[in-house]
């Protein structure tokens, strides 16, 4: 290495040393200033007001929601009770107007269908459901009868 190169390196290192020393002093000065700065813990009035407003608004919304929910539930229950009472009254009135029919219906509902076997019941159902199907040749046979008759 030449003397110039050595000098350049030395100059560079000196400059770096100076920069690092300045950096250290700068950080120390900043830190000391911040460390000894008096601290205030009171939040600003504006922020406090804003927080209070938001808290009250949320509280009101929650209270109104709870109240309306409770009222809705109460009204719904009342409606249901009234409808049930009306239905009960209708049934009682109908039963009072047609005592014979009601008694018969009640009797039919109460009495078990004794003496009817499963086979008989199925046969009765088949009989009710089945119908007489016309024979496919029957109309022609009727025509033949008519012609023959003449």
């Amino acid at each position: 290495m030449t003397i110039e190169t050595n000098k350049a390196i030395e100059t560079g290192e000196m400059e770096l040393g100076q920069v690092l020393s300045n950096f250290r002093q700068s950080v120390h000065a900043w830190s000391d200033a911040e460390y000894n700065r008096p601290r205030t813990v009171a939040p600003s009035a504006l922020r406090r007001t804003w927080r209070m407003t938001v808290a009250w608004a949320l509280g009101c919304v929650l209270a109104a929601g709870s109240l309306s929910g409770g009222l809705f539930e109460l009204r719904h229950k009342q409606e249901m009770a009234r409808a049930a009472a009306e239905r009960d009254t209708h049934l009682r009135q109908a039963a009072a107007a047609q005592p014979a029919v009601a008694q018969a219906l009640v009797k039919q509902a109460d009495e078990p269908q004794a003496g009817v076997t499963d086979e008989e019941l199925l046969a009765a159902v088949d009989k009710d459901v089945s119908r007489v199907a016309p024979s496919a040749m029957e109309p022609l046979a009727q025509l033949m009868d008519d012609n023959g008759g003449r």
Partner: protein, 182 residues
């Protein structure tokens, strides 16, 4: 010595250490985070943790090295938590490079010299900001806190050789940044 008396002595000793080393821990955390509020919070946490574990301190390293180790771990945890909670709008109070570079060392200087010093400080802050967490800690412990290499190695739980290597890389970057500016 009765347990009560021993406890009292330990409390007095801890109070003395807090009074002596609190500014230094705060300074290290301030230079690491560039955030005054965060540095204050982490300093409080550091001494709280130290107080809880004071009974386990064996004196194998100096109290400063032990406290620095706690402070470095707290800073690392804080950084990790912030990174994990990226969805949360966490406001950073870190000052920018210009503001951090405003603190010039006192001395008789011309306006031109002050401007040059300010530019150089900005370059160093820029490099420090771009260093990895470990390199930043090593650089700050060495050139701001002026700790010895073996103390830094103890505080970080690394070998002295590793500390030297990290420091050399960090210095090379500072040198490069200053060289590019001048």
């Amino acid at each position: 010595m009765s347990p009560e008396a021993a406890q009292e002595v330990a409390a007095e000793e801890f109070a003395r250490i807090v009074a002596a080393l609190r500014p230094q821990i705060f300074r290290f955390l301030l230079s690491s985070t560039r955030d005054v509020d965060l540095a204050e919070t982490l300093t409080q946490d550091c001494f709280l943790k130290a107080h809880r574990n004071w009974g386990q301190f064996r004196g194998e390293s100096s109290a400063l090295t032990w406290l620095m180790r706690i402070a470095i771990n707290l800073e690392k945890d804080n950084w990790r938590n912030r990174r994990l909670q990226f969805w949360r709008h966490t406001r950073s109070h870190a000052v920018d490079l210009d503001e951090a570079s405003e603190w010039l060392p006192s001395g008789e200087r011309t306006a031109e010299q002050q401007l040059l010093a300010q530019e150089q400080l900005k370059s160093v802050w820029k490099v420090v900001g771009n260093l990895s967490g470990r390199q930043r800690s090593i650089f700050l412990l060495r050139y701001v806190e002026e700790m010895e290499l073996n103390e830094i190695a103890l505080a970080l739980g690394l070998s002295e050789g590793t500390v030297k290597a990290h420091l050399s890389r960090a210095l090379a970057r500072v040198r490069g940044e200053i060289g590019s500016r001048v």
